[in-house]
């Protein structure tokens, strides 16, 4: 008598099992195949081409009625198995039952649904089977339809691309910072997002879904940040979990999936499991390649042969026509691993290989994946790549070609890209001059005015010369930002603007950064440049900031912190002083000191206490003094006309006004101001970044002073008659410095490079430019002028500043 094999689930894995079993033992088994879907086995991974219209359902069926008839398989499609009775060895469905000698569970996965309000409205679907696909196709027939796909992983993006191809306006909401973060690093994720954007898809990263809105059916999606996207259709593609319900009820051993051994046998020797529903050696599976290996082992076990399942590496590709990406292996970087990065910004190509010892262990590629399978082979086989290491990244076809061009970033600029911002000179104007005979920087300056003003674009002009003239031009050696790039700070600043680079990932990709995520030299500088140039678009990255700016306090040599509240223009009052005294008592502050900047420093505060002491000081109206920032520090003042017998103008009042206008702004290095009421200069205005001296006839505004490692006296920027003009000049100067200076250059160092004349031309002699600078400063302040203490006096911040766990008590017990 033939043995009875019952199979639960007609999916991709069980289809393979049947083929193997029938090929080797065509008459040995009496097979019954249950499937919850009202159809037989089909190629689930081809649902995406069906959705986009590139294929039909009939084309993706893997086993048709003929196959089942030929092999005498009893098909019970549309019938869900609801119970396994292990004692009597029968399975029960909603429509009957079937006895088994051997049972194979192949129930796949169930899509995960985020339980936000509205998740059960009609119009909200997942993406798993043919019915889901058909529902999406039907929804797309409505003209002008909108869809939101929640989840920017493989499935979500394939759904989004398919819906776009069918004419819907689609938005993808993704919780993480970049798309497909499990398969791609940020650089490749950036390129993917750029490509999808060019196809009309809207991508919203770092978006957390709060609710699905609608009365009788889905109408829109609301995010935690308040954004609302209209949606006739909402597709949730946020992940899957193994479908283990019937196995759990049958008391089989379950981890996250149904536990199987190397032979694919569950804790019951007569029950096997295969596919996405299983867990093997702690691992789950979500791609078909390992499932096919499992299927081979299942067949062997059923046929009494010896075989063991060993998971192998898998590679990922996204099935969206025209998008080329590939990732395989372990592409994390780290000690003992060598990271080979190739970027071709002009073609949108990014490749990264990760090598450990003499083996390739991971690869991420975007834009050009032709060599993907070759690299994948090297990873899987553990091939010794020592001999070809130098040229590995160029792929198998590479034979003695040339490497990446270090001038590629500049060579790739289009002719209309602006090189010299001061004079509005584009690359095309410069190349035209070179073609007309200009051969040196001096020639270019004379003929086009490029680099003839503030000079920060000098490096770029030289690179245009080098890339146009080739060997005929000798590049002067410039100091690059750090080992991650060959570009100088000035180059980077110009290119951020010329190419509208608005994220760290965009910048590192387009400018060919040599490391995957920069280093402690470049990241703080890049973070500043990006936030200064794109206050509305760029999101400040706390992890790219030095500890003091991340924790909003100065770290001390013993790891405690100092806390300095702002005292506007050096003024304070009994209430503030009492609050400071109370805080010093309450938090047992070891030292309280008057600083050189006319305010009070509480030294030796423990990190976990910071949000609490801030909250207490906030209550008395005190805000952060930014004594830790590359930003506005103090505005020192003297007592001025209110009390002093020599005072000429309200120096204290002006100082307070300036501090209130400028506080919270980030600058390339720290910025200190002072306002003195007469030339006796009690506020030490002549050694400040900006120092104002009041005189009978008005205000003398000086810039570029310092009294730190170098002692510098201010230079006179201008003399003005009204307080309003003095404020305007100060704000415009700070903004000019923010837009042009190199990170960690104090104003005096930057002034020495650009010259006082140039600065005067920009802000004293050009009222329109001055107004524009002020407007840009105020725009930036609309985003950044926030008290970091108030922002962190929350329970969440208090938890973040506390240790993650405390084992000191447990250990003591």
């Amino acid at each position: 008598m033939r043995k009875k094999l019952v199979v639960i689930g007609a999916g991709m894995a069980s289809g393979r099992v049947l083929e193997h079993v029938l090929a080797q033992d065509p008459d040995g088994w009496d097979i019954t195949l249950f499937n919850a879907e009202p159809r037989g086995n089909y190629n689930r991974i081809m649902l995406s081409p069906v959705l986009s219209g590139e294929k039909t359902y009939d084309e993706i069926v893997t086993h048709d009625d003929d196959f089942y008839r030929q092999h005498d398989i009893t098909c019970r499609f549309g019938e869900s198995v609801v119970r396994i009775d292990r004692a009597n060895k029968v399975v029960l469905s909603n429509d009957g039952g079937a006895p088994y000698d051997k049972l194979l569970i192949a129930t796949g996965s169930a899509p995960f649904i985020i339980p936000v309000p509205g998740h059960d409205l009609p119009g909200v679907i997942t993406y798993r089977d043919m019915d889901d696909t058909q529902a999406m196709i039907d929804a797309s027939h409505r003209p002008g339809g909108t869809a939101v796909v929640i989840g920017g992983g493989l499935l979500g993006l394939e759904a989004a691309a398919g819906l776009t191809a069918r004419g819907m306006a689609v938005t993808v909401i993704h919780l993480m910072g970049h798309l497909m973060e499990r398969q791609l690093d940020p650089a490749a994720g950036y390129l993917l997002q750029k490509d999808l954007g060019a196809r009309g898809l809207t991508v919203h990263c770092k978006g957390a879904t709060k609710a699905i809105l609608g009365k009788d059916r889905a109408e829109a999606v609301l995010l935690e940040d308040g954004t609302v996207y209209p949606a006739d259709l909402v597709c949730m593609a946020v992940g899957i979990r193994p479908e283990t319900r019937i196995a759990t009820d049958a008391a089989l051993e379950i981890g996250r999936g149904i536990t199987v051994d190397d032979h694919m046998v569950t804790s019951d020797p007569d029950i096997l499991a295969v596919g996405e529903c299983v867990e093997h050696d702690g691992q789950l599976f979500g791609l078909v390649a390992p499932l096919y290996d499992q299927a081979r082992v299942v067949a062997a076990t059923l046929l009494g042969q010896d075989a063991a399942f060993r998971p192998v590496q898998t590679a990922t590709k996204l099935k969206v026509t025209g998008v080329d990406l590939f990732s395989a292996g372990d592409f994390a970087d780290g000690e003992g691993r060598e990271d080979i990065v190739f970027r071709d910004p002009a073609r949108g190509v990014y490749k990264r290989l990760v090598i450990e010892g003499d083996r390739l262990i991971g690869a991420v590629m975007y834009g050009d994946t032709a060599d993907g399978s070759w690299f994948f082979g090297l990873i899987k086989d553990g091939t010794d790549i020592a001999a070809m290491r130098d040229t590995l990244i160029f792929g198998p076809a590479w034979q003695g070609g040339t490497g990446a061009d270090p001038l590629a970033a500049v060579a790739a600029l289009p002719p209309e890209a602006e090189i010299c911002g001061c004079n509005g000179i584009c690359k095309g104007t410069i190349t035209a001059a070179i073609e007309g005979g200009a051969a040196s920087l001096a020639d270019i300056r004379a003929q086009t005015k490029a680099s003839a003003s503030c000079g920060t674009c000098t490096g770029l002009v030289e690179q245009v010369l080098a890339s146009t003239l080739g060997d005929a031009f000798q590049m002067p050696a410039a100091q690059p930002v750090c080992a991650c790039t060959d570009l100088t700070h000035e180059d980077v600043r110009r290119l951020i603007k010329a190419r509208a680079l608005k994220s760290m990932a965009a910048l590192m990709q387009e400018l060919g950064w040599k490391t995957s995520c920069g280093c402690h030299h470049c990241r703080p500088a890049l973070n500043f440049y990006l936030l200064a140039d794109w206050p509305l678009d760029y999101t400040d990255d706390a992890q790219s900031r030095f500890v003091n700016e991340r924790n909003h306090a100065n770290i001390q040599k013993d790891g405690t912190y100092s806390v300095v509240p702002r005292m506007w223009g050096g003024m304070t009052n009994p209430a503030e002083l009492r609050a400071i005294a109370d805080a010093a008592d309450k938090y047992a502050i070891p030292a309280v000191k008057v600083t050189g900047g006319q305010r009070i420093d509480l030294l030796g505060v423990r990190k976990a206490d910071l949000p609490h002491i801030w909250a207490d000081l906030n209550k008395a109206g005190l805000v952060s003094g930014h004594a830790y920032s590359k930003g506005l520090r103090t505005v020192k003042t003297c007592v001025g006309t209110d009390f002093c017998r020599f005072g000429t103008q309200d120096s204290t009042g002006l100082g307070i006004k300036l501090e209130k206008r400028l506080w919270g702004s980030w600058t390339p290095h720290k910025v200190k101001l002072a306002v003195s009421g007469c030339p006796r200069n009690c506020a030490e205005s002549t050694c400040k970044d900006i120092g104002i001296i009041c005189v009978d006839s008005g205000y003398e505004v000086g810039v570029g002073g310092a009294a730190g490692m170098d002692l510098k006296e201010t230079q006179r920027l201008a003399k003005v008659t009204t307080e309003a003009e003095a404020i305007d000049l100060t704000v415009a100067f700070v903004q000019l410095y923010r837009e042009h200076a190199k990170y960690l250059d104090r104003p005096y160092k930057w002034l020495a490079k650009v010259g006082l004349d140039w600065v005067q031309a920009q802000i004293v002699e050009d009222p329109d430019n001055r107004a524009a600078l002020i407007a840009r400063f105020d725009l930036s302040q609309s985003v950044y002028q926030r008290d970091p203490w108030a922002d962190r006096a929350t329970p969440q911040a208090q938890a973040d500043f506390a240790p993650l766990a405390d084992f000191t008590r447990e250990a003591a017990e």
Partner: protein, 110 residues
């Protein structure tokens, strides 16, 4: 090894760190840009800087006090500087961070 659940991966920002207090001092737990976790003593061998407050780049951290750079994998100082920090086995499972408990609680003294 006994793995101890010390918190969720999302409790630590990417390219950031948090500390775990033990009787022998704090242990810094780092999360890198590629979502791996590493644990090591939160004390720089140079002058005791809190490594958990450093800038994390690749699989390395820069001490916030005087910029020594340490490998998160081996605890070794990089470049010209010499020194090492004790590291502890750590891994992520199902979004939770697990650390080798035996070494964490009994610590170096054992």
């Amino acid at each position: 090894m006994t793995w101890l659940d010390i918190g969720a991966l999302d409790d630590i920002p990417q390219r950031g760190a948090r500390v775990v207090k033990t009787v022998q001092g704090c242990v810094a737990v780092f999360r890198t840009g590629d979502d791996r976790v590493f644990a090591m003593d939160d004390r720089c061998p140079h002058r005791g800087g809190p490594l958990s407050e450093g800038i994390v780049h690749g699989h390395a951290v820069t001490c916030p006090l005087h910029n020594w750079v340490f490998s998160l994998e081996t605890g070794m100082a990089q470049g010209a500087d010499e020194g090492a920090v004790a590291t502890y086995p750590a891994r992520v499972e199902g979004g939770r961070i697990l650390i080798d408990a035996a070494r964490l609680i009994r610590g170096r003294a054992a």
